[in-house]
């Protein structure tokens, strides 16, 4: 398969009337799980991605990308590269978009990027970079977007960067530690639904009514299954409740909820009402 793909890339670049890239280089990139796509526009320009299938890529593997030249966009998200590997990017002077997020890189390698004249987009989120990197990156003349969520940059560092480069969009993202999980409101008083034990008569079909919620509570002392009796009389499983478990179920009023044992033998049923209600499955006799 890889050979077919490679062949196609070569043919198609020829159809553009430009020289094909070195096939050994392409082969090596493919082999490490990289995807090479022609970048839209004139001539032989490439977009190289490792973030989906090439996450095993290491610093050495980057040498192949460096050999390709004319790389416009490079995605290294989630790969194994480190600061040392960034040395290979130094010569990719056509680079406009660079994804380094979620890698092990830190401040040490950033110096290799400051001479990329066309770099517009740089993603560094979830890396170890600090304000030191920001100070260096302020030198990137064409930078437009910089992503530094979940890094060690500080307010002071970002302020300094913004002052030096007011037109660059620097995205720090949310501090998730400050996200407050909203507690659920106190439950409203509940009606108790009537338990109708199973008999020879079939449970009635559900009718459609208004929106409501039923909280089932399994006090039967065994594992039970919860079925909705469909409008046509068919059964549809919604939940299995372990001993002592509760289950909150949205439903309409006038719906029939059948309780069976694990082997689907009916034990009894409830019919929902318009009010928020509790349905206690009683102890087996």
């Amino acid at each position: 398969m890889e050979k077919i793909l490679l062949g196609l890339i070569l043919c198609s670049s020829l159809s553009f009337g430009v020289q094909a890239a070195d096939s050994a280089t392409l082969e090596a990139i493919k082999k490490s799980g990289g995807l090479v796509l022609p970048y839209p526009g004139e001539g032989e320009q490439w977009e190289v991605e490792f973030h989906l299938r090439g996450r095993g890529l290491t610093d050495d593997g980057l040498a192949n990308v460096a050999a390709l030249k004319n790389v416009i966009a490079l995605n290294l998200r989630d790969t194994q590269i480190t600061s040392a590997g960034l040395l290979h990017l130094k010569g990719l002077t056509k680079l406009r978009r660079l994804h380094l997020e979620r890698t092990k890189i830190g401040d040490e390698g950033i110096g290799n990027l400051v001479n990329l004249p066309d770099l517009e987009y740089l993603n560094l989120y979830a890396t170890k970079i600090t304000d030191k990197s920001l100070d260096q990156l302020a030198e990137l003349k064409n930078l437009k977007q910089l992503y530094v969520w979940q890094t060690d940059v500080t307010d002071a560092g970002v302020a300094r960067f913004k002052k030096a480069r007011p037109k660059v969009k620097i995205v720090r993202g949310l501090d998730l530690s400050k996200v407050v999980v909203i507690k659920k409101p106190e439950p409203k008083p509940m009606d108790a639904l009537k338990w109708i034990a199973a008999s020879d008569q079939k449970p009635p079909k559900s009718k459609t009514g208004s929106f409501t919620t039923v909280v089932f509570e399994n006090q039967s002392g065994r594992k039970v299954k919860l079925y909705w009796v469909e409008y046509g009389g068919g059964l549809k499983i919604y939940a299995t409740l372990n001993v002592g478990a509760t289950h909150e179920q949205n439903t309409f009023s006038d719906a029939t909820w059948l309780i069976t044992d694990e082997k689907d033998k009916p034990i009894g049923y409830f019919i929902s009402t318009a009010k928020l209600a509790k349905a206690v499955i009683p102890k087996a006799k």
Partner: protein, 451 residues
């Protein structure tokens, strides 16, 4: 991770392995498209039932009381743009949104309104959900131009199909493009469900995501033997092929692709999950982001209950008790989850390559009816786009003072589609072929100047 990849690759060598046949299509495409950068993925958010434009993106505070309704407008992050007061979180993201306030069409029924918004084409005659004569959905058409490689589905839709009183609606499938372009239906594995009926009857859902790899492979080999005995009639897609395409996609998903890991929401930071809200609406949009991150090119997320049955459930068909339902149940989920999605995409640096488009059946009637509701109104309504090269903080078009019809820059669902296609680097005039080889131009609209 690595071991999974290897086994997948070995498995591909022995069987399908056609994913590589994609570069020429890509090249042909890029030759057509403008040389600007294109979005890599698209998330379509759909509010089933018809979202009121008054109580969302086009409040009319100056209209008489029987038109403007109970809610007040609020300021957004963009001077001059106002939203409904019950979208306070989304209001902070107006700088990312392009709001189109002048969309209109002539389809007053849910099925027809959904169909024209999803496919960009007027329904002709009676349409049925499973029919291969239908126009392909937007998700299917976009996915046709993407070849993410074996192991990654081209398009996914969540968390269930749209129904009206028990009947599945047409417009979500690939229609004449053939079953291999049908978006795969996936049920969101977490979150409090929407109130009302949400049907999960589609056969795709019978797929158990925890099937063991060996079993899947074994079954696949068996089916491939079978395949050799089935001949094709008149070049048309046989029942077997339809099943085969589905089986192939399902197996691909199971065999250790990044998509499978994305499906596991338990791997996500609990704080981030909380940001989206503990609701199937929020968790579906969170899953959308994870799937796009894993390489799925198109995701369609339904932001409401799946069936309009009874009218009492959490769908947007608010003929009665409109204001209470909007305020208590519908707008809070929409507001929180869509805002979280925009925040999340932006801080990961994904928003400029991910187009988010919001669609609905139609708007609601200007005058509040005697049941305190608003009825169907395709005369004018609002849609929105964000990311993917769309310039945020803008309003395109306007409705008249009562919100009854377009006042400026009237446009159609087809124009919205053309805009989406352009953002995705697809020429809206591209011709695609059905399974019999007949050509169809994918879109009759013209892109709106939102870039």
């Amino acid at each position: 991770m690595l071991s999974l990849q290897h086994s997948r690759r070995d498995f591909l060598r022995s069987s399908v392995g056609l994913a590589g046949l994609t570069i020429p299509t890509f090249l042909k495409l890029s030759a057509h498209a403008a040389p600007t950068r294109k979005a890599k993925a698209c998330i379509i958010i759909y509010t089933w039932g018809g979202m009121s434009h008054y109580e969302s993106f086009d409040p009319k505070p100056e209209a008489p009381a029987e038109f403007r309704g109970e809610f007040k407008p609020i300021k957004t992050a963009t001077p001059g743009i106002r939203f409904c007061e019950h979208l306070p979180l989304l209001a902070k993201h107006s700088d990312k949104l392009a709001i189109v306030r002048s969309v209109h069409h002539k389809q007053g029924g849910h099925q027809q309104g959904m169909y024209i918004n999803m496919t960009g084409h007027n329904p002709v005659g009676g349409i049925k959900a499973k029919s291969r004569n239908n126009w392909p959905s937007l998700a299917s058409m976009i996915s046709h131009f993407h070849h993410p490689g074996v192991g990654t589905p081209r398009a996914i839709r969540m968390p269930y199909s749209m129904y009206d009183n028990g009947t599945q609606m047409a417009g979500e499938g690939a229609g004449w493009l053939g079953a291999k372009h049908d978006p795969i239906l996936v049920r969101t594995p977490a979150g409090k469900p929407y109130g009302g009926v949400s049907r999960y009857t589609d056969r795709e859902l019978k797929l158990k995501l925890n099937l063991e790899k060996q079993r899947v492979e074994g079954r696949r080999t068996l089916l491939e033997q079978l395949e050799q005995n089935v001949s094709r009639k008149n070049g048309a897609e046989t029942e077997y092929e339809r099943f085969d395409n589905f089986r192939r996609m399902a197996a691909d998903m199971l065999l250790g692709s990044p998509v499978r890991a994305a499906y596991d929401l338990e791997k996500e930071d609990p704080k981030l999950r909380a940001l989206y809200g503990d609701h199937i609406g929020g968790q579906t949009l969170l899953l959308s982001r994870r799937l796009v991150e894993a390489g799925v090119p198109v995701v369609q997320a339904l932001c409401s209950a799946g069936d309009l049955a009874g009218g009492g459930g959490d769908n947007w068909d608010t003929h009665r008790g409109h204001f209470k339902k909007m305020k208590d149940r519908l707008l809070p989920v929409f507001d929180r989850s869509v805002s979280a999605l925009l925040t999340d995409l932006e801080m990961r640096g994904m928003l400029d390559e991910t187009l988010v488009v919001f669609l609905t059946d139609f708007g609601r009637t200007p005058k509040i009816n005697k049941n305190g509701g608003r009825d169907h109104h395709p005369g004018v309504y609002s849609l929105a786009l964000a990311g993917g090269g769309i310039r945020g903080g803008q309003i395109y078009g306007s409705s008249d003072r009562k919100g009854a019809e377009p006042a400026s820059n009237a446009c159609s669902p087809a124009d919205i589609h053309a805009t989406v296609f352009q953002a995705m680097g697809i020429d809206p005039r591209t011709e695609l072929h059905d399974v019999l080889g007949r050509p169809f131009q994918i879109c009759e609209g013209a892109p709106l100047p939102l870039f």
